[in-house]
Amino acid sequence: MSMRARQRIRAPRRGIPASKTDDFETNWADLSTSLKKIHTRDASNLSFEQLYRNSYNIVLMARGEDLYERIKKLEQEWLDAEVKTRVTAAISSSLLLAKELAEVQEQANERREAGERFLAAMREAFEDHQLCMGMITDVLMYMDRFMSTDHRKPSIYAAAMALFREHVLQSPIRSDSKTKVVDVLESTILFMIQLERSGQIIDRVLIRHCVYMLEGLYESSNEEESSKLYLTIFEPAFLDASKKFYQAEGRRLLETGDAATFCKVATDRLAEETERCTYTLSSSTESKIKEVLDKELIASNISEVVNLEGTGVRQMLDNDRLDNLRSIYVLSARVDPKKTPLTAAVQKRIVEMGKEINAGAVALAQTPAAIPAPKKTSTDKSEAAKRPAEKEKPVNQQTAAAIKWVDDILGLKKKFDSIWETSFQSDHVMQSAITTSFSDFINSESRSSEYLSLFFDENLKKGIKGKTETEVDSLLDNGITLLRYVKDKDMFEAYYKKHLSRRLLMKRSVSMDAERQMISKMKMEVGNQFTQRLEAMFKDMTISEDLTASYKEHVKKTGDPDTKRIDLDINVLTSTMWPMEIMASATRDDVQLSCIYPKEVEGVKQSFEQYYLGKHSGRKLSWQPTMGTADIRLEFARSNGKIQKHELNVSTYAMVILLLFNEVATGESLTYTEIKEQTRIPDHDLIRNLQSLAVAPKTRVLRKDPMSRDVKPTDKFFFNHDFQSQFLKVRIGVVSGSANKVENQDQRKETEKKMSEERGASIEAAIVRIMKQRKSLTHSKLMTEVLSQLSARFVPDVNMIKKRIESLIDREYLERIEEDPPTYGYVA
């Protein structure tokens, strides 16, 4: 560069030969005629270069500003003279009726045509203007560059657009009228949209172009985004009109009173407005118009729609109208993330249906109980024969009720799950709503824990026979889901324990695998603490098996020669882990003398006791004959001299009773009192066992005199040599002793009492745990902590906690530190 810098730079040649550049007026005259030609669409003969050079020269002459002003003036004159007249001419009188909506069809048609004409004129005028100004701007580019950089003026294009706005749009349509062109334009477009909303087809493209025009024009000349005419004038008017329209539409739809229609219309309207915004108006309006729709059409009406009598959500739920539910869900979700009315309706319906199920179960449980009652009075013989069957019935009926209850709930749950998935798009708010309502009504049924446990019991005993592993799995899973809803889990645990113990001891369980699976599922669901005792029960069972085996070994070693020895199969149970109260069912008897066993059995019993205590010193064995069973072989001497052998599987007590008859000569009898004296079996158990031996139709090993259902102390019992059975092995169950059944009133009270004792203990334990950690705590904080600690197992009663605190203070575990606020301290 330094080399070149030394060379002389020639001054550029001044001017261009043969140009008339020096004269502003000549240049302008040239330019203005050309510009007019452009407006009249006669540009093809014009040379761009020439025009450009004209403006270039003028600007070089430093007359740019003059040029700018003159062009503005030229444009203004053109617009005033030509364009305006053309546009106003297109406004017909029918359009001026703008404000009131044309209701008469003919008038509407006429107005529509006029409107279309006007819009077309408008569009043409604007497009012309745009095109011409585009060309003019191109030509005047040099001026524009100069003007906008040096003088901070808006480009000539913008200025011309502003002129269009002022002199065409905002000019009055008649010299004597106040209505402006733009007002007519606005009302016309709104009218068109109105037509489209009512289902007619309109010229969307035309409107779109007019909207383009409004979008391209600005309120002020600095062209701020927010001052677009579209935004300042048209959009508010449009939104306002839409608001009114949808308010009316909402009312109309509510009057027709069909929720499904409402949803459909609302959904359609939404789609329609989206389409309208895309194709007819501006997409920037979409969100705003949707807001209007949401507010006016949906939000203000949705709760009524949801609750519409006969067609609302309730109806949809009942009839599985999944599509309707989905649309109503989508609509609700638009206006309210919580979807309050919808959730409320769904919850209400779930609770209602749940209550129905509850009521159904109760009704089912009670009907059979009600029927036998009046029959007791009649002494009809045929009815007497029926009685044993009836006696079984209420028990089963109750169980059936429980199982039906669980099944119904599972059905309901499944139904709502599928609704939730397909219609509510797996929405979390809805899910929690459904969950709470389920747990509400499940917990409103006080027997829910018991029913649920019965359900498991039934299934583990019989239900899973012949089912595949996956079926069993899903069955258990279903049950577990319900368990999740049950708040009083300790209650459930108690029942489950009871049922489990029966299954284990009586070997009723179909599959130990399923049992274990169940336990592990519960463990995952509720926690370790919950299943601890259940697992301990399983452990006891295994230990007992080993024990039995080792005892047998022991017997063999000691070399007992007695071949008639009785095989002993024993279950040693840890009393704290097992629900002892159900075994010692005769708790109400004051003094319980242990039963007198026949000497053969007594011998075995003592031998085992010796063996066991020898192994584990310091333990106490207590025998639970109610839970045991025995296999005995009986010989029946038929009247024709033959001897029929049967193997009977009976309860321990029944065995004891039957063994008594060994000592009794054929044909002799024992009275009830005699049996009782000789065995010391508690009344309650004795009656039940005698019933099963003498009354139950298929298992009459004993004959009873008189033959009636009730057992009276004076009744006589005979050994029935004519016992008939097609099987060699017969199982004789104890009447109502072991069946899985709903508890009766007394038993329930008993369980509840026990429950509340247990709860009291856990509450106390929780309080002490918390206080030991915190040393001192205010009453309310202690309450919340206790509640949260225990909520996994049950919902503690606040009064109960208060009582427990009192009692702990009395026993000097806690002390009151302060009165206001009440604060407790831990006494170490």
Partner: protein, 100 residues
């Protein structure tokens, strides 16, 4: 409308003609507007631009620059273009006029 020609002709004030690809010519904003097929001016229709106030020597250099620009578009480390100092003022004016 007829499809625009692929090449356009630039004519200098003293009668020299330069034929350029349309895309190259359109690097100049002025030229691109002049040749815009949507405007109905004669240049757009004929594809021939008469630039009366640019002499042939300068227009030659302008064309050279346009080609140079087109060739080295989107590249870095491009060698400088040879510009004779006696032409630079006139070139500057032409550049202003053509808005390059």
């Amino acid at each position: 409308m007829t499809t625009p020609h692929e090449y356009v002709t630039l004519v200098s004030g003293d009668g020299f003609e330069f034929v350029l690809p349309r895309s190259t010519a359109c690097i100049s904003k002025t030229l691109s507007m002049m040749l815009d097929p949507n405007s109905k001016f004669s240049e757009a229709l004929t594809g021939r631009c008469v630039l009366e106030n640019i002499p042939g020597v300068v227009l030659e250099k302008v064309c050279e620059y346009l080609c140079y620009n087109e060739k080295n578009k989107n590249q870095t480390n491009v060698p400088d273009m040879e510009i004779p100092p006696e032409l630079c003022l006139e070139l500057l004016m032409a550049a202003d006029y053509l808005d390059v």
